[in-house]
């Protein structure tokens, strides 16, 4: 089991008390490709922020690779995110001062487990998997939206995480690029046995994943 969530509950207290997540139980097996669907405002993003350890204000228990995450300090959580979780956002946040290659290398440098040479080789390898090694030395601000999202995926992959999470990673792309990103995920899942948890509004996309988790008003309904 890569990820286990037990009885996750979350309230927003401002402006009024709002019970946004209700008794969420969710398990992701090793190598499983899971999509989350649900109406806008049902709490998908909120859940993903909790699962990715960025949000610590919740009740319930969270395990990543069998390790209990809830209650850890911020610094410990930073390390866990760095090592075990790759995150892909709807908007492709890259550091615009750096090149594509440097952006991809950044989390690995932070992790500090490998030499600079190895990290660079790894980063080039990830760029090759995503078919964008040609723009490795471009400034991150000078590439197209589709390319940016692939760079973001390469960055999420750099530390060989246990799980990739994505919050509508194709939501901001045209159908061609969206299709492209999806096939990349599928390929990673099949060829590398990567676990993925992707929030999406695209039913066609979701149908091709191993399992669809459907949410309604803060609950998982199927």
């Amino acid at each position: 089991m890569v990820l286990e969530a037990k009885k996750i509950n979350k309230h927003f207290r401002k402006p009024v008390d709002f019970h946004v997540l209700k008794d969420i139980d969710l398990n992701i097996k090793n190598g499983e490709f899971v999509s989350i669907m649900g109406k806008s405002g049902c709490g998908k993003s909120t859940l993903l922020y909790i699962l990715s350890t960025m949000d610590t204000d919740y009740e319930g228990e969270l395990f990543i690779k069998g390790q209990k995450i809830s209650g850890k300090t911020r610094d410990e959580l930073s390390y866990i995110r760095n090592k075990h979780i790759g995150f892909v956002f709807q908007f492709h946040y890259l550091l615009s001062e750096f090149t594509v290659l440097e952006n991809v290398m950044l989390p690995a440098k932070k992790l500090g487990e490998k030499s600079l040479k190895e990290i660079e080789a790894d980063a080039m390898e990830k760029l090759r998997i995503l078919d964008i090694e040609g723009i490795a030395y471009n400034k991150a601000s000078n590439i197209s939206g589709g390319q940016k999202q692939r760079v973001a995926i390469a960055r999420a992959l750099i530390n060989n995480p246990s799980i990739i999470m994505g919050d509508e990673p194709t939501g901001n792309l045209d159908s061609h690029n969206a299709q492209n990103v999806f096939s990349i995920f599928k390929k990673l899942s099949v060829e590398q046995g990567l676990s993925l948890l992707i929030v999406t509004h695209d039913l066609d996309f979701a149908k091709k994943t191993d399992r669809i988790v459907e949410m309604l008003d803060g609950r998982i309904i199927s």
Partner: protein, 419 residues
Amino acid sequence: MNTNLLLGIAKAHLLTKIKQTLIAALGVTFGIGSYITLVSFMTGLNEMLDSLILNQTPHIHVYNEIEPSESQPIANYSDFENSMNVVKSIKPKFSQTKIHNALPLIDKLNADKRVRGALPQLNIQLFYISGSIELVGNLKGIDIMKEVDLFNFGDYIIEGAAKDLENTNSGIFLGSGVAEKMSLKVGDRIQVSTVKGGVFPLKIVGIFQSGVADLDDIQSYANLSTVQRISGVPNNYITDINVKLYDIENAPSMAKSIAYQNKLKAVDIATANAQFETGTTIRNLITYAVSVTLLIVAGFGIYNILNMLIYEKMNDIAILKATGFSGKDVQFIFLSQAMIIGIIGGLLGLLVGFLLSSLIDGIPFETEALPTIKTYPVNFDVWYYIIGISFALVSTFFAGYLPSLKARRIDPVEIIRGQ
């Protein structure tokens, strides 16, 4: 590795805002540069003025003052012990200004470990006579070579040399004012007549200038033995003893005990020159007030640019945190930016300060009061440079601390959700 990585990010941010970064750094440069310049110049002046005072003023001046006795005979009369006695028109008893037992006292002082030297002087009043001109004046009999050694007398000799006086039996160093009034120069002869009468010819071997016109218009120096001879007094007749100590701090207490033990007047330098201490303090105060003000202004510049950077790099901060950088890492990035600005600005400030002080050091500054000084006095103490750079680092640290703390606390979820 981690530090290099964070510094790399910090550097990249600063380079995108190179103009603002430079302006912020220049603010620090300005503050530190003015501090170095001001403090070097001010302390240079202070030191010059202090040494002016310390060099030529004895730490303790011992003399015998003619004054009415503090206790009147009636006080010793037990019958009137508890009554109020009124004694009108008290006059000092006639006595000599001579210091009683001066030579043993000088020997005793010279034997004291705290004393660098105790020099005898004989001060007399006389008339300078040259042709038909007669001028009232003062003649001091001194031990010239020791005066040069202990009280930097040589700094004030503008013509002639100390040795000349020592080697000339009836030589005299004339005050520059006296020489000018009487149109006398080195090599000329002058006649002096003492108050008791008697005219003595003396040879002018040098001219001195203390810078105080009132003094230079009347004062002259000769060898102690010469003055004793023309006043017709024995060679133990001494009116003043000037004492120089190793540590000026001892002056007040020593002066007190000398006065008490020998029933003499003994004035210490701290009491005599209290106002100089005040001047020094005020000059230091001005220096630090100006520098701190400039640094506070520079601090606001740094505070500003950091806030701007953090605002603009909100997304970067969110992504860094999302990919595993801790709050501390992010704080380090922004704090190091402040410190980079501080170090660059501070070092430039030291350089600017050094160049400006060197410039001032080269400006001619000639004054009658200080014949040995040719340019403005500047103090190139390396301590001020150390203080200056520490100043820059501390003030930029404080300026950067609050913004960096803000960056540390930014919640990535809030930023990502906000998109």
